[in-house]
Amino acid sequence: MRIVEKNQLMTATEIDRTVQRLAHEIVEKSGGTANLALIGIRRRGVPLASRIALAMRGIDGVDVPVGTLDITLYRDDLSKVAAQPVLQSSEIPFTVDDKDLVVVDDVLYTGRTIRAAMNGLFDLGRPKRVRLCVLIDRGHRELPVEATFIGRTVQTSDTEIIEVRLNEIDQEERVMLVERVS
């Protein structure tokens, strides 16, 4: 079983432009940023959320708090993961009560990660609203989850994988479509 790269979907420049556009879209569609907060899902949602917050500061001097969420404890598939998932801490240094939250992740696929994220967030309090921002929506939803802010929508098959590489984690910057071949 090998991983074969099929296509480069986004270059570093394209990722940056998309992040800027998403930041603008979120500010535009939030009717006021007073209660707005971003929650990055570990791992790659975290740098994305930071970058979006930074871009927002450049827009109107808007300063939006950013939290990070590790969803490992809320997954519905723990017993099926062969490798032992390593737990990281979540850090949300503000109350989620009455907040207008935007959850940020790199890829939206089955929707189970987002369900787990919402479980985690609702354990902390009662947000006023939760919306989802993703870099890539690859379809194949298994739960009724939708993203409000989408970088790019990509049609994929089950054997394909979207690999997002970000400088902060991978020391390179691009989005690829890869395939598992036996």
Partner: protein
Amino acid sequence: MSFRFGHMLGIEPLSAEEIAFLLDQSKPFQEIQRHPLKKLATLRGKTVALAFFEPSTRTRISFATAASRLGADQMNLQAESSSLKKGESLLDTVRTLDAMKPDCIVMRHSSSGAPDFVARNLDLPVINAGDGSHEHPTQALLDALTIRDRRGTLEGLNITILGDILHSRVARSNIHLLAKFGCRFTLCGPAMWLPRELECLGPAGTSIRRVTRIAEALEDADVVLTLRVQQERLHEPALAIDEYILQYQLTPERLRRARPDALVLHPGPMIRGLEIDPAVADGPQSCVLDQVTNGVAVRMALLFLMIGGGADGSSEKESSHAAD
């Protein structure tokens, strides 16, 4: 880097990396304890068997709380009200529990080696909650987490242990653990509780000295671990309680001989006015309540690591977070 633990029988066989990993993995669970809603569904559907053949309140409640907060169910065996009184053997008792299909067994027993015996005879993960005078691994882990949180490190600290070290599994597990991080040990108490063999604990080269004068023992200490005095043992051979208090009670004056930021730990339960002066127990250097809070976190981490994951082989779509 990630580690798997089939059993948790003792600290001695673990590496420093494995211990650091366990402490790191406890941090998210420390965080969860601060949430308004502390209940997770992570171990939903799993069952933790709590088999306490020796009386225990705090350890049992701590493990039970850890299991509950992870969403697991419990099977509860308590020695006083069990069929052991009717003469059932240990093996039969645990086999009976095993036949009810728990996912792991947490056991405390008065015989050193009992959890190891059970681990060899059952196909079930075993966590040692204290066996005889051998080990109490989760106590050492929560002590280490407490020390590391307050001091930032476990490396090269001066550890003074006070009290009945001869009979203490807590002392042994702590020595095994902290020795792996290059700590130096001073063991202090009446000579009858400080046999020479204690100097052989830990890996070769571990610095352990035995001292009968508390003032000397506390000099330069970074951590003072105060053990409970079991009053029954004061009679083997005889040492009057007043004499013990006079010579070995940890008082504020004596504590001043240690480093100014020295930590005071106690596995509990404390007997105020016996091994520890109330002013020290309640003072700023005392970590006893943190120890208890950290105990739940450490036990949650251990249960999560031991029975949380698992290879099942499934054709479900691999989450993009599976390998993160």
